[in-house]
């Protein structure tokens, strides 16, 4: 074999399994060492630079880093990387003075961000310090997207989400909430220098089954139902509930049902 080319940064990057597996390539061991050293604020900022929402992700991330963790190959369980991220978020000091300065004089470029979820907010976080004028649109009254409407509060308290969403909004974003964008052509006609579309996947799949129409008052679409609970429109559910599906949304529906009056909650899933 040819000698390994260690000058290619991807060689050593790949050795850091967790960081390599992270879509945002968060420098995991670096922040974990800072937690060992009691330097939670610095551990938080390393995360904040890479993943923008450490408090949110430290509770809710799909954590592709953990199945990749070398500890999992040495013994059984990987390092609790995700929950250590939460430690950095829980025990950090006030970080506002560490956030980037936002130029008062803008660079003359105007960007529209459609949808105020994690994707648009990340774009905004990266562009605001460069002097861009950022207009963010969302049909809800607050930013956060699916982090607010679909992740239940018993997994992600609103205060944690608000804090990290506000770090970005407070960078001088111009917000257009309660605004449903109905035409991209219309947006493009308003002389933006670029348009970013971060509108997520907001439509829950339905099932066409006999009786679906007759039973519609008691048949709910998971993500719509979770949003309705999150925005305080739905406060209860029947005693016997069937949840169809086996993903995150199904589990959140099942756990939310138990909290809103469901006593006999069944999850039906074709995966065994």
């Amino acid at each position: 074999m040819q000698p390994t080319d260690v000058k290619n940064p991807e060689y050593y990057h790949k050795v850091v399994d967790c960081q390599y597996a992270c879509p945002a390539h968060t420098p995991v061991p670096q922040y974990i060492r800072l937690i060992s050293a009691g330097r939670y604020t610095e551990a938080y900022m390393i995360n904040w630079e890479s993943n923008v929402f450490p408090g949110v992700l430290g509770r809710t991330c799909d954590r592709p880093c953990e199945p990749a963790c070398r500890r999992g190959r040495i013994e059984e369980e990987p390092v609790a990387i995700c929950r250590l991220k939460r430690v950095a978020a829980d025990f950090k000091d006030d970080i506002t003075h560490l956030l980037p300065d936002i130029p008062k004089v803008k660079n003359g470029k105007k960007i529209a961000l459609i949808g105020a979820g994690p994707a648009s907010l990340s774009v905004a976080r990266d562009l605001a310090p460069l002097g861009y004028e950022l207009h963010i649109y969302d049909n809800q009254h607050k930013a956060g997207g699916m982090m607010r409407s679909q992740i239940p509060s018993f997994r992600l308290p609103a205060e944690v989400l608000d804090q990290e969403v506000n770090y970005v909004l407070d960078m001088g974003l111009i917000t257009h909430f309660n605004t449903y964008v109905t035409s991209l052509k219309d947006v493009l006609s308003r002389n933006y220098d670029a348009v970013f579309i971060g509108t997520g996947a907001p439509r829950g799949k339905d099932l066409v089954l006999p009786g679906r129409e007759e039973g519609k008052a008691n048949i709910h679409i998971g993500i719509e139902w979770l949003a309705s609970v999150a925005f305080d429109h739905t406060h209860n559910i029947g005693k016997r509930v069937i949840v169809l599906g086996g993903g995150n949304t199904a589990m959140d529906c099942c756990r939310t049902s138990r909290r809103l009056g469901g006593e006999d909650v069944k999850v039906q899933n074709k995966a065994s």
Binding site: H25, R33, C61, S120, S122
Partner: protein, 283 residues
């Protein structure tokens, strides 16, 4: 609701659900919640704007630049390449921000900025390093939870309480510091095999080279069967052998470097930061 009984069978590695022929099962319910997936919504995007859509009615988006086929329109998150998760949305947002910044400055968006990397020694003394190289044997710690009575009666009450600081420290100590790299300098190596001898996981081998990677993998002290993990192969040494290290189960304990009489091994911290728009850095 009626459910058909099925069993899973694997045909050519694909999972198929076969009805068992048993009678359908009836489960009574007051409410039913359908949580079987989610889809995008693009009816607000006119189809005459130059934004191409594929056969699944998804916009054609570059997985590198997150540009659409129309100038100045970019996508990211679940809207770009289909539903994934928050961390993917964030990662795509960073890339789209880079593209938007390049585009607004009249630069080529396919010319992606390189990551910022650093490699520096953690050596503090003969047997002392700037990281905790001692490998703990603790098992993973469990995150404590609030009392079920309380959490089930209040949907706003957070279930997980998070680690306290003492537990967080112990869990953090389980990290193997994989970013502290075993860096080998063949010009200092005298081939005494001391590192091969001391390595607790036998991941270092001095042997003759092979043309074929698999042959080399199989002749190591412990065969390197995890193909997803790389081999670190040195240049040819004085005896004609090479040093081969299987990265798979290296504990990054630094014993090779502590034992090496000529400091041919060093434990060097490798920092890798993906580029951000405008090359800004916050941490």
């Amino acid at each position: 609701m009626y459910f058909e009984k099925v069993k899973a069978e694997y045909v050519d590695g694909k999972r198929k659900l076969i009805p068992t022929g048993e009678p359908d099962v009836f489960y009574p319910a007051d409410d039913v919640i359908i949580a079987i997936g989610q889809e995008n919504r693009f009816e607000w995007i006119e189809r005459d704007l130059g934004i191409e859509f594929d056969k699944w009615d998804m916009p054609v988006v570059s997985p590198e630049t997150f540009a659409s086929t129309a100038p100045k329109v970019f996508f990211g998150g679940d809207a770009a390449l289909g539903p994934k998760n928050v961390i993917t949305a964030v990662a795509q947002g960073h890339q789209a921000a880079i593209s938007i910044d390049l585009y607004c400055n009249g630069l080529d968006i396919s010319d992606r900025p390189a990551p910022d990397t650093k490699l520096f020694s953690t050596k503090m003394g003969i047997h002392e390093w700037a990281y905790d190289n001692d490998v703990t044997t603790d098992n993973r710690f469990i995150v404590p939870q609030a009392d079920k009575k309380e959490t089930l009666s209040n949907r706003l009450k957070e279930v997980e309480l998070g680690f306290d600081l003492a537990t967080a420290f112990k869990e953090a100590q389980r990290c193997l510091n994989c970013d502290v790299q075993t860096v080998f300098d063949e010009y200092k190596c005298i081939e005494c095999d001391a590192c091969m001898d001391i390595c607790p996981t036998n991941c270092i081998t001095f042997t003759t080279n092979e043309d074929d990677e698999n042959s080399l993998r199989m002749k190591l002290l412990v065969p390197a069967i995890n193909q997803e993990q790389e081999l670190l192969v040195s240049d040819t040494l004085k005896t004609g052998k090479v040093m081969v290290k299987d990265e798979d189960v290296c504990l990054h304990c630094g014993l090779c470097a502590e034992r090496c009489p000529t400091a041919a091994w060093d434990m060097k911290q490798f920092n890798y930061n993906t580029a951000k728009a405008g090359h800004l850095c916050y941490a």
